[in-house]
Structure formats: C-alpha cells, structure tokens
C-alpha cells in the first residue's frame, strides 16, 4: 500500500510540475486547458493518495533530502494529514473545472492565464507539501511559499479590483503569524535532537507548563491568522472581497483549512497542553469569532464580503470544537474529546464543500448580473433556475438545515459542548455554558443570514437596474456546482460512513475512539452485540432501530451515548431516516394533491398589492430591511456613526430627500487593527526622531554601535 501512496504522490508532483511548465510556455488558449485538465488530475491524485492512506490506516512516511543545517526533510502522511489532503482535493477538483467559467477571452488579454496557471500549480504543490510535511523546516518553507503565492494570486486582477492594499494586509499578517509560528516551533525544538515532528512530539513531553503555554499562544494565534480567528482576522473580509473569482474558491476552501491543520498539528499533536487553560482559550476565542463573524455577515449586503464573514463564523465553530476537545482531553475525558474533535473535523470538511459552492455560485451571479449587491438583486430564480436550486442547497447546508451536511456537524458540535456537564470545575462549566449559548445564537443568526441571502437574491422581483448577461451559459447547470451540491447532500445523509473515517485521525489526538459511541455497531450490524446489554438493545428494537436493515445501506443513526452502563442515555438523530421520511411524505403529498385537484383549472393572476396599479421594485423588501432588526439589536457592537442629511425645498415642510448615512468600522478593526496600526505609527514616529539629518549624530550612532559590538565580542 505504501508504494501506491508514494506513487500517487510522485505522480502528483510530476503532474504539478508539468502543468506549471506547460502553462508558462504554451501560447493562446492552451494554458486554460492545461490548467483545467492537469489541475483536475492533480486534485484527483490528491484524493486518491489520501483515500489510500485512510483505507490502510497506517502512516506513510518517506525521507527526502537531508540538509545539514535543518536536518532530514521527510514526507509523512498520517491520518490527520490524510483527512485534510482529501478535503483539499475534494475542493480543488471543482475549483479547477470552474476556471473555465471565469476565463473569458476579454480577461485573457489583460490577465493572461499562463501567469495564473504557474501560480496555481505552485500553490497546489505547496499546499500538499504543507499537509504532508513530516518535519518543521519543510513545513515552514512550504508555508511561506503558500503565503507569498496567496498574496500574488489575490493581486492577480489588481488593476480591476482597485489597489492591492487588501492583499498587502494579508501578507503582513501572514508574515507576523509565520514569525510567531517559527518561534513556537523553536521553543518546541529546544530539547529535541532534530526538527522532525516525531522528535518534537517526544521532546515537548518534557517541557514545562509555561513553555507549553507559550507554544500554544504563539501557535494558536500564528496559525489563527490563516484560520481567521478574531483578533488577527481583519485581513480576511478585505481579501476575500478583493480576490478574483477564479481564485476565491481555493482561498476559502483550502487555505483556510491550513490554519486548522497548523493548530491541530502543533497544539493538539506535537505539543498538546496538559492543563485546561489553553483549551478554554481556544474555545472562548472560537465562540467570539463565530459570533462576530455571523453578526457582520447578517448585516452585510455585498455577497462576497458576507461569505467572508460567514467563513470567519465557521472557523470559529471549528476552533471552538477543537478547544472543547483539548479541555476534555486535559480533564481526562477522552471519549468526549474524541467526539468534539470529530465534530470539528467534520465541520471543517463540510465547510470547505459548501463554502466553495457558495463562492462559486456568487461568482456565477456576478457574471450574470454584473453586481454583487444583494439590495439590487432579486428575481434571479427565473433568470438562473439551475443555479437557484444548487445555491439553495448551499444555503441550506450552511444554515445547518437537515438533511444536509451543515446540520450534522453543528449538531454534533453543540452536543459535544453539552458534555461539559461531566466536568468538575464550576468555572469551566460556566465558560462552556456561555460559549455554548454564543454558538447557539450564532446558529440562529446564520439561518437569518442565509434566508436573507437566498430570498433577496433569487426570490422576489428584480430591484436594481442591472441587465442580464451571458444568457446562453445561464440555463445549463455547471458540473462543478452539481458535484459540490451532491457532496453536501451525501455528507449530510451518510454521516455513519464519514465518522469512522474521521475517527482514524481523532483517535491518536484525543486518546479515545469516537466511533463506538457516535455510530454504535448495533445500528449497522445485527443485534447480537456484546458491548451493550440485551434489554437495552431490545428497547431499541421497539423504536424501530433495525427497520430497513436489510434494504437500506448505511442507515444513518448518529447517536450520542452518555456514560452509564445499565441505562445509557441516548440523543439520536438520523438524517438518513429523516431524508427518507421527507421523500416519502413529499411524494405522498404530491400524489394526493395532484389526484385531488385533477381537472381543476389554475388561473394565474398578477400579484395582489392592495389595488395599486403596479408593484414597483422600490416597494419590495430589501436585504437591508430584512437584516435591519439585527443591526438595531446589536447596535452596541456595531457602533455606527449616523450622519443625517435631509434636503428640502422652499420650506422644511417640503422635503426632497432624506438620507441617513451609516458609517461604521468593524469591531476587530476598531479594537485591534487600528490599535496596532496606531501603535506601530507611534513607534515609528518615535524612532523617526533618530532621523534628524545631522551628520554628526549619525557618526555618533555608528560609534556607539561599534563599541557595543566590541563589548559583546569581548564578553563572549
């Protein structure tokens, strides 16, 4: 098996390299075909390699070169890496195919795809290297390459999207995060012979609590930059809005996950904390991130920016799950830790899939209408019927509506937070309760947000002045979108197949296996099960747990079993059964209704609007109006400045225009970005006092410096 995996990886790098060279060299329209085909093959290979690794349940490792200064470089594909690699491949496939839609000929002249292709393949290679790196130097070098390539790719259409400030902020934050991560690795490597992950893991066991805290904080916030956590994520909305539509599915679906991978690798695998403190910090930061993200997403009207904030929200949920898992593990509840971590990993996979779907859908909307402003959209369901169905699937998934995938992972996350009842310390329990409430509020706001997105864009009547473009392409649904929507659906109704796969990564990290309690075998096998008492199993038969055992393949019962031997308490939810029931009821209802109304004539009449002659677009509800209650309720967080501007003619009595402009700065900007910016400016101004232009002083500086150096050398 190992050879197959190795072979797949080698093939992957080969194709990547070929693709890179070919797209740089070939003229005309060839680069696009190269891009699509080679990239698709590469992503398929990623999935194959990861799939084989997961199937074999063994770690694959291969040594690469040996560098004198940095030690041996190696590739190591363990279960955690395999899951992330599979998720990356899952998203890269539709992202590659979708390039065709965005590579219009008009853009080819200004932004040649050859340049994009080169960067695309380089990024793909660096992502795989990050995920399969077996030691710190390879990891860090690939990470840095990935950051720079992301910066270049975000600026790919810089002249169209305005200045490159957003990407520059991203680059600056990435470098700052990278620096923190390097320091974290350095602390971890203090007592280790070389830089490989295995040695590091062994070495950190001997580190003191303070060092572990240091590693945790630096690693968490350093990787948190990429993951989009609250104090350090102010680059994310700006960047996602500025990124070109070709690149943004990759940015949102793949590179975001690298942040989670980094956190898990460094803070859960290599240097896992012994106390509950770090885990609580992660849980708290995650919850705050989720809440802030969804608040700004709900009140945002630009679709891309809204999806960016929603990514922040989902990142928060994932990190909260990770934090909960760390707390449980440090308190000795391995099973609960495993469940929480499984939920977080599931959410990560789900998020990649539906976020890519939504971003690609948003790109299609922008291509078809020319605008991203939800206030002026509306009525797209008639214009883009296929897209409306697929986009609806995406919206339902992200709003955590069964039977789609978002529901399973959010339900599991909230359930795992409920397990905090078994913890001992009351302060910890209170914090869990608060964070659980914040996540529940987030889930509710997410529903509001995506109801607004779908309804205001697709339903209703057209509100803006835009004209539909590219009518030929619109009617046919795109393969990539259907693929992603099907993935959402399948991940939703077949959790029983996904969880055992995730469990392989969860096991070593949490110290326990989640499968047995999340997907007990008595639902997937015959009732002769030794683990649980016969009477208990019998009760389950009474409620029909074995129904359809012969016909239905993986009857998805996702069950959470709580503790006690004799009378285990079960919280059960089956999206699969739910879907079957929904389908049956839907079919029966449709059947009855069509039979009952057969022969009746349906008359279509114009919309009733109170008897006015015509319902104008300005009379229909807007996206701003829909989300205004949220804006008003959470005013303390938004803190807008309202500038009133009322114009009148002749007298105050005759008003011609009323305008109340809202200006607001993002909470994180206000509290962190501007503060950091001001601090740096202050410091720079302080240092600038040195630059007063007097030559004598400069000579004096050199003298002082020289003396200091001499002193230091003398001492050593």
């Amino acid at each position: 098996m190992n050879t197959w995996i190795g072979g797949a990886l080698v093939l992957f790098f080969a194709f990547c390299g070929c693709g890179l060279v070919l797209s740089a060299v070939m003229p005309g329209r060839y680069p696009m075909r190269v891009l699509v085909v080679f990239s698709a093959i590469c992503s398929a290979l990623m999935m194959i390699a990861a799939g084989m690794a997961l199937a074999s349940d063994r770690t694959f490792s291969a040594a690469l070169w040996r560098l004198d200064a940095l030690g041996p470089l190696s590739i190591r594909l363990d279960m955690l890496s395999a899951i992330f690699l599979f998720a990356a491949g899952l998203v890269y496939l539709p992202a590659s195919v979708f390039v065709k839609n965005f590579a219009e000929s008009r853009h080819q002249r200004k932004y040649p795809l050859s340049r994009y292709g080169v960067m695309h393949f380089a990024l793909m290679a660096s992502v795989v290297l990050i995920l399969t790196a077996g030691d710190a130097p390879l990891f860090l070098i690939s990470w840095e390459c990935m950051s720079i390539l992301c910066y270049l790719l975000v600026n790919y259409e810089r002249r169209r999207n305005g200045d490159g400030r957003a990407a520059y902020i991203m680059l600056a934050m990435s470098e700052a995060g990278f620096l923190a991560v390097v320091v974290a690795f350095a602390i971890a490597a203090r007592m280790s012979p070389d830089w490989s992950f295995q040695s590091l893991a062994a070495a950190t066991a001997r580190l003191s609590g303070g060092a572990i805290w240091g590693i945790f904080v630096l690693g968490f916030f350093g990787f948190g930059v990429k993951a989009g956590l609250v104090p350090v994520n102010f680059w994310l909305p700006r960047c996602y809005t500025a990124a070109p539509p070709v690149f943004i599915p990759v940015l949102a679906g793949v590179t975001l996950n690298l942040g989670f991978y980094g956190i898990l690798r460094l803070n859960a695998d290599i240097a896992f904390p012994h106390g509950v403190g770090p885990g609580l910090l992660a849980l708290f930061v995650g919850s705050i991130t989720a809440l802030v993200g969804i608040l700004y997403a709900t009140t945002e009207n630009d679709m891309k920016t809204m999806l960016a904030h929603s990514s922040i929200e989902n990142a928060g949920i994932i990190v909260a799950g990770i934090g909960a898992s760390l707390v449980f593990r440090a308190s000795g509840y391995g099973l609960a830790a495993a469940i929480a971590l499984a939920a977080a990993l599931y959410h990560m996979v789900n998020h990649s899939v539906y976020k890519t779907l939504l971003f690609q859908g948003a790109g299609e909307i922008e291509a078809a209408t020319g605008t991203r402003d939800m206030d002026s959209l509306g009525g797209l369901a008639r214009l883009l019927p296929a897209l409306s169905v697929v986009f609806l699937v995406g919206c339902l998934s992200i709003a955590a509506i069964p039977p789609f995938n978002g529901f399973v992972s959010e339900w599991l996350t909230l359930q795992s937070l409920l397990r905090s009842a078994s913890l001992v310390s009351p302060a910890v329990k209170i914090l869990f309760a608060i964070c659980g409430a914040a996540l529940a509020l987030t889930a509710a706001l997410a529903v509001t947000c995506f109801v607004k997105v779908y309804a205001m864009s697709f339903l209703g009547i057209r509100r803006g002045d835009w004209k539909p473009r590219a009518p030929k392409r619109i009617k046919r649904p795109h393969f990539a979108l259907i693929y992603l929507a099907s993935a959402c659906f399948l991940l939703g109704i077949l959790p029983t197949y996904v969880i055992p796969v995730l469990n392989r990564a969860v096991g070593p990290l949490a110290g326990a296996s989640a499968t047995a309690s999340l997907v007990p075998s008595f639902f997937t096998a015959t009732p002769q099960n030794q683990q649980l008492p016969a009477a208990f199993l019998h009760d389950f038969h009474n409620i029909g747990a074995q129904v359809g055992g012969a016909i239905l393949p993986g009857r998805g019962m996702v069950v959470l079993v709580r503790g006690a031997e004799r009378n285990p308490v079960i919280f059960a939810m089956s999206t699969f059964y739910g879907f079957i029931a929904l389908a049956i009821f839907g079919f029966v209802t449709w059947f009855i209704v069509t039979r009952l109304t057969r022969g009746r004539r349906m008359v279509r009449n114009e919309l009733w609007a109170g008897g006015i002659p015509r319902l104008l677009p300005e009379m229909s509800y807007t996206a701003t109006g829909f989300s205004n209650p949220v804006r008003v309720v959470f005013q303390a967080i938004f803190r807008p400045d309202i500038v009133e501007d009322t114009r009148q003619t002749v007298a105050v009595h005759f008003r011609t225009a009323i305008l109340r402009r809202r200006e607001q700065t993002h909470l994180v900007d206000r509290l962190f970005f501007h503060l950091i910016g001001d601090a740096i400016t202050w410091f720079a101004t302080f240092l600038a006092r040195m630059h007063h232009g007097r030559l004598n002083a400069y000579v004096g500086y050199s003298l002082v410096f020289f003396v200091v150096i001499l002193f230091l050398f003398r001492v050593t």
Binding site: G610, T622, P629, A651, H653, F654, I658, R660
Partner: protein, 545 residues
C-alpha cells in the same frame, strides 16, 4: 355681500380692532380692511397679490390665528380666493384676493403657513390656479395614474350634465407613473399600504411607508380615492337638495355638517332660530359626538387587539346608534336639520328615556376607562407612541381632539359659539403630551362633556316652535361652521340670482388633520402605524368629499 349686524361682544371687538390696526399698518395701500358680517368679522381685500404671504404670516404666526382654509371661487371675470383665519377671541378673518380668470397666478403661502399646502394643491388640481413658489403641485386629488395633468374639472364653464361633456373629461392614464420617493438611504424601500386595506380603518387610503427596515422614515398619505366632487355636484341645485349632499358626504358627522350648512343659509337669510330648535340642535350634536367618540375608542381598542375592551366599547356604540334611531328615526341622524331649525320634535318622555340611556352609557364608559388605564400592555402601545409635539400641532394646524391632545385648545363651540353654545357651560379638555394616550384621554373627557351638555340641553327645552321659515335669498353668501366630532367644519355658500347654489365650499377637519398625520407616524416602528392611525380617528371620506 349682505351686511347684517351680529351680536359680537365689545371685548371681542377690541381684539379685532388691534388686529385691524396692525394689518392696516402693514398693507398700507395694498388693500382694504373692513369689518363685515356673513359670519366673518374682518375682511381684508388685497389689491396686490404679492402682499399675501406677508399678511398670512403675520396673521398665522404673530397674531396667533389658526388657519381655517382657503375658498376658491370663479366669478364672472375674476377668480376670487379667500383665506380664512380664526382669531381665538375675535372671530373669522378673511383675506380676499381677486385674480383674472384667464391666467390665475397667486403667490403661494405654504412656505410660511404650512397648513395651506393642501388647500393650494386642491385649487390647482380642480381649478387650474398656479401657485408660485409651491414646489409640489399636481397629482393630488386627480391621481396622475388616472387623470392627465391640466384637466381642472371644477373650472367654469365646464359642465358635467351631458355625456359628451363627461367624455371630454376623459383621462389618459399614465402607465409610467412612479410615486415620489424621498428616502435615499441604500436599501430603503417603500411599503405600499392600501387603498384596499382592511386593517381597522377600512376606508380607501394609500400609504407608501418609506423605511430602511425598522422605523418608518416617511409616510405621506395619498387620499382622494373617495373624491365624489360634492362641491361641483352642488352647483345649480336648490338649497334643499344641497342639504342632502351636506348630510351625506361624511355620514358619521352628518348632523354637524348639515348644521353648518343650515347655519350658513340662516345667516344669509338673517333669521332668528327659535330657542327650542337651538337646544335640540345642541342635544343632537352632542349625541352625535358621543356616539362618534365611542366608535373612536372602539377602534383604538381593536387596533391594539384588546378584544374584550373593544367589544365593550362596541356595545356602547351600538346602544347609542339604537338610541339615535329610536329617538330620531335614523341611526346616523339623517334628515333632522333644515334651514330654520329642526324637522322633528321630541316628547318629554322620549327625552327622559334618552337621558336614562345617556346615564347608563356614561357609567359604562367610566368603567371601561378605568379598566383601560389599568391595562399596562394596552397603555404601552399608546404612551409615547405617535407623538405630535405642541409646536408641530400649531405649525400644521391640527384641529379637533387630535389638536387638543397636543395643546391646541381651540374649539369652535367656545371660540365662535353657534346655535346657543354661548349659554352652555362646558369644559374643553386638552392635554399636552400629544401621544396616543393623550388622544384617548381627550376622547373620554369629551364624551363625558357631551353627556353633560345633553342633560343641560334637555333640561332647558321650553315648549315652542322647532323651526322658523327660511327663504334663502338671491345672491346670498355666508359662512357656516360647526364643531364636528373630528374637528372644525366650515361650509361656505354662495347663491346665484335664482337662489340656487353657485358655489359650495366645504372645509373639513379631516382635510386639515390628514396633512399633519405624517409627523405622528414618522420615526416610529412599522407595527405602531395601525395604532397611530386608530388614535387619530380620521375619516378619509370626510377629507375627500
């Protein structure tokens, strides 16, 4: 114009003299000031139209007069505009302007006297007068969706008696018509309400509530869906027939409007009404007011969905309707007023029965009132909601219970008494807060005062005639007024040489109050809109005529 001496008391004349002197100073040779009658105490005939805005501003703001209305007439060669102001101790002041009929152009006074806004728009729509300086003419009574501009159907010599004439007034509907939307915030929308709208009012009114989501930012009503051109139909009719129109254009205040009409005819005939008729008129006016206020209270309770209280108020109202029918033969008091008096007499027994019903109604109202003031969920919807500040009420010239709830304590029964009110003792309740709760309190207090007045009038009924013979004179012109339940109602009547109606002008309280209604609704939440509408108790059909 006939000049008949009227019994104005000496103290009142003093104040008129002050105003007269001040006005003389201001206009100098640009006009003539004289004291006349026909209902009007002081008449200012302007020779220079440009002096109009300054005089109006002086009268409205500096002399603390309220604005009664504007009467537009088309005489043989000229168009005559008459602006009525009411000086609270003195009586009506009439500023008259004549402009040539061929190209009538008048300076607009709406910039200073905001209450004149709709009067000018109506004159422009119906007569084609241009008001210079008014920024928003057109699309008022004759909706632009239905009528093209410039139709001016009231302008003579348009007649409407033949089908050919009617056809010539046919309109070309404008399919591209868009409403004027003022709020320009991004994401602002205008929610349409009506004209077919069941919520509470039931009458045909159209609103476009402009908002960004929570609060209504701008709410300007679009009325005149019930415009039946009563003023035009009345032209050429005998007075007895025009009386039917006066009764029926706003039937929930039918007695008050027919009373104002009859007072105008009686004033121009110069006859004296028998005392019994005056007392009966007071009794019936107050009966109508009491029934109307019971209906308004029912509507307020229904709008806040306090069902039991609404049912109890509805019981009171139905009892009053049945008593009205039992006592006078019609539930809404049709057919009682006639020029010269009333047409039906009432026995002492009937009066006693009526008083018993009144007492029962008053005690039920008091119980209801106490119950309502103890219901905090009900008061929450009314207190500090739909606020009309006193200065806004003054600026926009609110009349009636709505105005009195915002500090405008004017009441025609006390300021220019008619039909014997000068001998009655009664309070005019008023409040200052101007919110829905204040309007509710005013309604209850006025209802109790009405009951007291009914008792008072019934006690003073002396045997005697119930009407005096009245012949409307040729070329008669007079102003009649009455305090209708919603507020001041003015009826201006001019007869031609055969005693038929030449010009009939009706200025109603609803027309005045609908203009200012928007200040109560703006900056309050959407959900409060139906409640504020109910607390105002306005009638679209009274405004539309």
């Amino acid at each position: 114009m006939l000049v008949t001496p009227s019994p104005l008391s000496a103290s009142k004349r003093m104040q008129i003299e002050e105003i007269e002197a001040a006005v003389r100073d201001r206009i100098g040779s640009a006009g003539l000031v004289s004291r006349v009658d026909g209902g009007v105490a002081l008449s200012i005939a302007l020779l220079d139209p440009m002096a109009l805005p300054a005089i109006s501003k002086f009268l409205f703001w500096e002399s603390a007069c309220s604005f009664g209305g504007m009467i537009m007439e088309q005489l043989r060669d000229n168009s005559r505009l008459s602006y009525l102001f009411l000086s609270p101790g003195s009586g009506w002041i009439d500023v008259v302007l004549e402009v040539p009929s061929t190209s009538p152009t008048v300076p607009s006074i709406s910039a200073e006297v905001h209450a004149a806004d709709w009067h000018e728009r109506e004159a422009e729509d119906l007569f084609g007068v241009r008001f210079e300086g008014h920024p928003r003419l057109g699309d008022f009574i004759l909706h632009d969706q239905v009528w093209s501009e410039g139709v001016a159907p009231h302008r003579k010599p348009q007649s409407h008696s033949t089908d050919a004439d009617r056809h010539s007034l046919q309109h070309r509907p404008n399919a591209d018509w868009r409403p004027l939307l003022v709020v320009q915030d991004p994401g602002a929308f205008a929610m349409p309400v009506g004209p077919v709208y069941e919520g509470g009012l039931g009458q045909s009114v159209h609103f476009l509530l402009e908002s960004v989501g929570e609060d209504v930012v701008r709410a300007v009503p679009r009325l005149f869906y019930n415009f039946r051109a009563v003023e035009k139909i009345a032209e050429g009719l005998p007075v007895s027939r025009a009386l039917l129109l006066a009764e029926r254009f706003a039937a929930t205040s039918s007695f008050a409007h027919s009373l104002a009409f009859c007072l105008a005819v009686e004033r121009m005939s110069g006859i004296e009404i028998p005392a019994r008729a005056k007392n009966l008129r007071i009794l019936l006016s107050e009966l109508e007011r009491l029934r109307h206020h019971a209906g308004a209270i029912t509507a307020i309770c229904e709008s806040t969905a306090l069902s039991v209280a609404a049912s109890q108020a509805a019981i009171i109202e139905e009892r009053l309707l049945r008593s009205s029918c039992q006592f006078t033969g019609h539930r809404y008091l049709f057919g009682l007023n006639t020029p010269g008096g009333v047409r039906r007499d009432f026995t002492a027994k009937a009066c006693a029965e009526l008083l018993k019903v009144m007492d029962r109604v008053v005690s039920e109202l008091r119980t209801l009132e106490q119950g309502l003031y103890l219901t905090s969920s009900f008061l929450d919807r009314l207190e500090d909601v739909g606020i009309v500040e006193p200065n806004q009420a003054r600026d926009l010239n609110f009349v009636g219970p709505v105005g009195r709830a915002s500090g405008q304590a004017g009441d025609l029964r006390r300021d220019c008494p008619y039909t014997g009110y000068e001998t009655c003792e009664f309070q005019v309740p008023h409040e200052i807060e101007g919110d829905g709760y204040a309007r509710l309190r005013v309604l209850f207090q006025e209802a109790y005062e009405s009951a007291k007045l009914i008792h008072h009038a019934a006690k003073r009924l002396e045997p005697g005639a119930i009407s005096a013979p009245c012949d409307p004179p040729a070329h008669g012109v007079a102003l009649g007024w009455a305090e209708a339940p919603i507020g001041a109602a003015l009826h201006w009547l001019r007869l031609d040489d055969s005693g038929l109606v030449e010009r009939y002008r009706i200025i109603t309280a609803s027309f005045n109050n609908w203009l200012g209604f928007r200040v109560a609704v703006e900056d309050f939440a959407f959900q409060d809109f139906p409640i504020i509408l109910a607390t105002f108790g306005l009638s679209a059909t009274e405004c539309d005529r």
